[in-house]
Symmetry: C2
């Protein structure tokens, strides 16, 4: 009598009769032995089929199964020190469940065309690397949930349907809602602020949408954001929370995603160094550092640095930072960098201005290492009713649409703030994935609508 076991649990079944249910991921062999590489979603195991045990006809039949055929494999689990799992199966019987002919993904293909693989995303995710990235995504989600739950945050779902195009419609998706226009949420923050004033500490965790026309490796039209919002929290506290959380995520993944990080050949030292405190640099200091780096890199013999030099500070002083600026700054450190107090002009209307110098906002962007760019954008919010009315006027926004938001300043306002963490960019950084589209099961970009 054999017992069905998931592959990850086989180590505990050595010398027992087992049943493995899985798919034929790969195979090799000779005229007397088949070495079947099976996967079941929880891991990979080798199953050895010996012609002398199983008989000629059966051996031949098994030899004809195509990649991704599904089967029940019965046999004995034996120790195998050469394999990562430490176990292999000596097969006594194979029962085919679902055949598979001409599987469209070739395992040995050297230079994959990612867009073609995304056309069969529903199958490609079975392969080791995509599977590893999505497994890490799942662990990052759990790490974040656990982080906030341990700290007594209330999980607070903001609405996806939002009635007003508050900040212009250029990157908004619109839908028809029983005859009225409705827009898909770009951020849950404004609603999260209402939550913070009711619950103290909340976290919004949901999908957000931007009609992003950029075809860069950092952009998706549909992506998930995690947005904590906290009453009484000011800029320094926001930065403390951000670095505590990123350290927590990195440590969690180092502990729980070793096999996946190994499959992806991730340099673990890049995650091991993610320890508090992170560097905190003001936008004004960053400008000086960038000017130095621009000169330094221009004189470099490394052509990549030379090229980077040309792109540094392209936006001019007082503007937001560009991708090259972020890359040049993050290169200086072995952990994420926090850049605070950007010019208030380039930042959102709801950010509180620095009372010490109102040209700057009490905001922070956290830049991940290795060119991933901004993974967190946060700020202390403007908590004065009258100052907020001023900002709404300056930004020529529709006052009517913000009445409920102004109410939060009218009935017992308090200092408060929070940030948004981009889930996909975080997974991109942790897993060392080049393009953000591989960090979500079914990516959506300007060129990618299906499957």
């Amino acid at each position: 009598m054999s017992t069905w076991a998931w592959i990850k649990d086989l180590k505990g079944a050595i010398n027992s009769d087992v049943e493995v249910r899985g798919w034929l991921h790969n195979r090799r062999g000779n005229k007397n032995l088949h070495f079947l590489q099976l996967r079941d979603g929880t891991g990979f195991v080798q199953a050895v089929v010996d012609k002398s045990t199983i008989g000629d006809a059966e051996f031949e039949r098994i030899g004809a199964y195509g990649y991704e055929s599904s089967m029940k494999v019965f046999g004995k689990a034996v120790e195998d020190k050469r394999s990562k799992l430490g176990v292999e199966i000596q097969v006594s019987r194979v029962e085919l469940v679902g055949e598979s002919k001409d599987y469209p993904i070739q395992i040995s293909k050297d230079v994959p065309n990612i867009e073609k693989l995304l056309d069969v995303r529903h199958l490609w995710m079975r392969s080791p690397k995509p599977r590893a990235i999505l497994k890490i995504r799942s662990e990052v989600i759990q790490a974040i949930r656990q982080f906030y739950y341990e700290r007594d945050y209330v999980c607070f779902d903001s609405p996806i349907f939002t009635p007003n195009a508050c900040e212009g419609t250029s990157t908004l998706f619109e839908t028809e809602y029983f005859g009225n226009p409705m827009y898909l949420s770009q951020s849950g923050q404004l609603y999260g602020e209402a939550g913070a004033l009711a619950f103290g500490k909340v976290v919004v965790f949901g999908p957000t949408f931007r009609a992003e026309k950029s075809k860069t490796r950092r952009h998706l039209t549909e992506f998930w954001m995690i947005e904590p919002e906290v009453a009484w929290l000011e800029l320094d506290g926001i930065m403390d929370l951000a670095e505590e959380k990123l350290e927590y995520i990195a440590q969690w993944c180092l502990k729980r995603c070793r096999p996946e990080l190994e499959i992806l050949e991730r340099d673990l030292s890049k995650l091991e160094s993610v320890k508090r405190p992170f560097p905190r640099i003001s936008y004004s200091e960053v400008q000086k550092v960038l000017a130095q780096k621009k000169d330094e890199f221009a004189k470099s013999s490394d052509p990549e640095l030379k090229k980077l030099s040309g792109d540094i500070l392209k936006n001019g002083p007082g503007d937001d930072l560009g991708a090259a600026d972020e890359t040049a700054i993050s290169m200086q450190y072995d952990r994420p960098v926090m850049i605070h107090r950007y010019p208030s002009e380039v930042k959102a209307f709801y950010m509180k201005r620095d009372p010490k110098d109102p040209r700057f906002a009490l905001c922070v962007d956290v830049i991940a290492p290795e060119g991933v760019g901004e993974i967190i954008g946060g700020a202390q919010r403007e908590d004065s009713h009258d100052a907020l009315v001023e900002r709404i006027k300056e930004h020529k926004l529709p006052m009517e649409a913000f009445q409920w938001y102004l109410d939060l300043r009218k009935y017992g306002t308090v200092p408060h703030g929070g940030f948004g963490l981009g889930l996909e960019r975080t997974v991109q950084w942790i897993s060392g994935t080049h393009h953000v589209r591989e960090t979500i099961p079914f990516p959506r970009t300007i060129v990618r609508m299906s499957p």
Copy 2:
């Protein structure tokens, strides 16, 4: 030197000097004492202001603060056995942070008009009952996350943007996606099936959208679903998983939401009885029971039962069950009821037919007690490629749109299944809330688009 503490932690600070930051929820008093009821999102505490301690001018000033004014209150935490918290504050100083005049919600209002309160939902959620419901929602979410994480499910986000109007457009929301139509997801299941065949066990957790024209207490246009999907899982296993999960949620909330359930005056015995096994009744058996109940209730002297009798079996034999049918069945039990094997005609094309009697589908609906209705709908999926092609033709669905879904049956199909749990209806049931719109921070219905 006093330390800032959240109200929920005050019990550990008895006889210390503390600072409480909060909002004035309610007040009473006389000419010598103010009893301020403060809330900070984590709880409620009484702060006692004594005129003889604080002085006449200050006493008068504090007496003028309106409901929901925010303040820092300094004083000594002392034991108070009469209060639930067990602590009150003897105030030495009050610092006003944000004033609040003419707060639009009246605490003593007897018959609330829910739609009017939803107009100020951003403020109403500060009140004890709405706060308690949303706190329970947060705990239900964590319970579900934890349940699946403990059981090695991979969290798998299905896309919100879906390219095809597979099952007709009548309840679909459409958006324009760079010149093409795109639809908002009504369920992540089909994508979850791809995940199950790659990862073994997955759970999709995200918002779903239905352009529901019904104005019932069970319907929202935007609601959250949790959809596990598992390879090798057949109908009995699906029912096992459903009852294990509902028991887990009920027990979690009994353990962690006592104060909130008390505020809502929830009958805890209704949750304590939620223990496995749940009754499992086939659709065919249900028809017989309903016929009996229809007769029985018709003869009842209870006018409600008499009325219910008239609505039972309105849909006729072979049709889906109506709300009255679900209510009549659920009244027979003290825990959720699982109704399995509905006629395949009334169920979705992807459900596998019962090999023992193909007129029926291998599906299950779980009906919550107390008139909440269906909270789970699940099924074993059709795993035969050719049978699925047949179903798609019978349902006159566009074959082209399902090519990727058919691939899952072409390359190593296996038996598999899962279900969708409606988050809001689950919270409605656990919290004993009459209308589902109160179980989500910012509800969206046909008549409710803002704030």
